[in-house]
Symmetry: C3
């Protein structure tokens, strides 16, 4: 369970820092101690503002887990966006992130996207060097498949600990891929089948971005299935004495892979709405879990 996303802090002044402090306070109040960054969020400002928060709050750094990512180069004028996981680039990006975050060490560094040009040996050399220097404690990936993880792992002396994917009651390819085996409908799902199983088997924690499903079950529902599911989510929330947001996160956490949701909001009220996902065990029965799935799915299982 972590707090992440783009951190809505455009210009970066005192107001931004105070807003971030409120977000962090709301997170800590809610039992959320993992903070998920990326070098590209707000073009580095998200990390910088967070670094200011850390600098103002002695002792905070030791209480939290700081995760960040590198590997994407954003579009810039005529230069299109691309990926870059060259060893030298990784090291440079990490050094920049450390400076912005005003910390000595990143707890978890994720490789943000697969760069087809990256040589796994070169990547591994950079990661092991960062690890030996004590600059990064653990490594993971994002938006990658079992095959990509295994190739990188074969060159690493430390285990990859996380794969962050878009996963929610709405973005369900990771789940549908498993039950559509041996059906014609499987062709409509492009998820690299086996990735969930690989992570389960190797203790690689699945992290979910977009875990709140873009609000499509908590106010922004559009389709009939979304409306029906939102009603079901609300009813469960009331019955369990929690929020609809928590129901959506529990739905992920209840999976045997113990999916760790990443909440992409800096609004204290949204963060607090997720508190029970950090503080309570996911309280959904087998039948309630399937009920949510089938409602969002809109059609029966094969």
């Amino acid at each position: 369970m972590g707090l992440g996303g783009s951190w809505d802090t455009t210009p970066y002044g005192t107001a931004d820092i105070e807003q971030a402090e409120e977000a962090v306070a709301a997170a800590l109040d809610s039992g959320i101690t993992v903070f998920d960054h990326a070098d590209i969020y707000r073009h580095g400002k998200a990390e910088a503002v967070f670094g200011e928060v850390l600098a103002r709050a002695p002792g905070l750094r030791e209480r939290i887990v700081v995760q960040t990512k590198c590997g994407i180069r954003l579009a810039d004028g005529d230069r299109p966006g691309m990926y870059d996981l060259r060893g030298d680039t990784i090291v440079r990006r990490v050094e920049e992130s450390l400076a912005r975050l005003r910390t000595d060490v990143i707890d978890v560094l994720l490789l943000h996207r697969p760069d087809p040009l990256a040589d796994p040996e070169d990547v591994a050399r950079a990661l092991m060097s960062l690890h030996r220097q004590g600059l990064v404690r653990a490594f993971g990936v994002s938006n990658m498949s079992a095959a990509q993880i295994a190739l990188l792992q074969a060159h690493l002396d430390v285990p990859l600990v996380a794969d962050q994917l878009e996963m929610s009651l709405r973005s369900r390819d990771w789940l549908e891929s498993g039950v559509l085996v041996n059906t014609p409908q499987a062709a409509s799902v492009g998820f690299p089948h086996g990735t969930v199983e690989h992570c389960l088997a190797h203790g690689i924690r699945l992290q979910a971005w977009g875990a709140l499903a873009q609000g499509r079950f908590t106010g922004r529902q559009e389709t009939a299935a979304e409306h029906a599911t939102a009603r079901r989510v609300a009813a469960l929330a009331e019955a369990k004495g929690t929020t609809p947001e928590t129901i959506l996160l529990w739905w992920l956490q209840r999976h045997p892979a113990r999916i760790a949701p990443v909440v992409g909001s800096a609004r204290p009220d949204r963060i607090r709405a997720c508190a029970d996902a950090a503080r309570r065990e996911p309280d959904l029965t087998h039948e309630e879990w399937y009920g949510l799935w089938l409602s969002a799915r809109g059609t029966a299982l094969p």
Copy 2:
């Protein structure tokens, strides 16, 4: 080669038992000694009627292989259908199947569908317990992929022996997936590629449900390709001195994975039509096998 399917026995009285006895007699006459059940077939009545047949025929149980499945919970009124492979549920379902089947042991238990909520450790614990108690001799799966099989196998001390998939001259995704590698058409096939290879490499027997292709090459043909293929099937049957049904089953058995067809019918005449698939070696040349495939396919290979 087995006999399975839904066993057309709605109310369950003496007539049903006698009908089942005829089916079993036809199967044994035809050299078929594997009987494929599931707890859900006819909501348990299929197993119960079969149990009556076993009770009336001393010595029969020792001559046959009894296979059944658990893991699906059928829709019931407002409750939608779902999957359930919790350890406790598996054990309870097996105990119920044993009671209905009036036998001390199930030869092969298949997990009917993948339940995403199932924790592989919990599943494995239940299976190993059933095995240690002598209630189930061997385990397999149904409608599962290589990745799902491997994840479960990693927690089991006994080898999974079977994967039952829909496979026929009509349902060919398992086959097309292999020859469409490196072609744009591959996107139209969602079969989890590698599953056939995994089963071949690990001695996991592929069982085929729907092996007779819903009759689409033996009387119920609809498309031009089906009509042409039905003529080819009939001509081969005549030339080989057997039935069209046998040709369809030989086509599966001829594959190096030695696919074991499951015939889903309780009609003695349909069962007897498959006898040569149990009694004779598949008698199709390389060219005849491809001829059937290409005819059903309707287009040339890449």
Copy 3:
């Protein structure tokens, strides 16, 4: 880097041999020493003409790598095309290729297409026998997936060294499959994900057929993206002092899998246009490589 394709030599007379000699001379001049054949190219005439070239040029055989393929049976009148990797067939085809090529040994034999009827043990027995007799030095495959390669490898005592796939700036499923992980667009790509990673991890060389993209970026462009990409290719060629064809091949060679392009042309001018791909290190920056990809892609990365 190799020379291959169908060798445009219909009737096979002195003119064909001389034409082939010119192609071989152009290749050797260009630093190309791998010659890629198949038993079916020009129904065997491609190999036969090449055999004549070898016979006329003492010492040539020792300077080059001869690769050929078997496993496809072409359509012939009413008989449709099919695949045939039975052990006996493989041995017979290799003996025929050796006779046509007028050589004692094939350096690399590729299995041209996956034959679903092929028993991996039977295939492996044939390959090992050819290897023990010194008739074939090394084996590879073509148009096959990681799963198919691994299944065959499990039965072989020598490592498979190559997988020849269609790969180019135009045929990019092998590449898109990697970056579309975790996106809905992944369903439009049927490439067996993990094959590139498997080859990288096991030292299996990827060879690219169709590497020049059917001329779609060097004169035969049709779509807007192809026109834009052709301009970019031409500009890079001029800037680097080489040909557009070389830019297309460098784009493949620059990948960490060190993809080996196979140039499918017997025209000396086309062959010479590729010389820098054999003689120079691929001279494309990270950004230039992505620029070509994104231009051919026509849409931004996820």
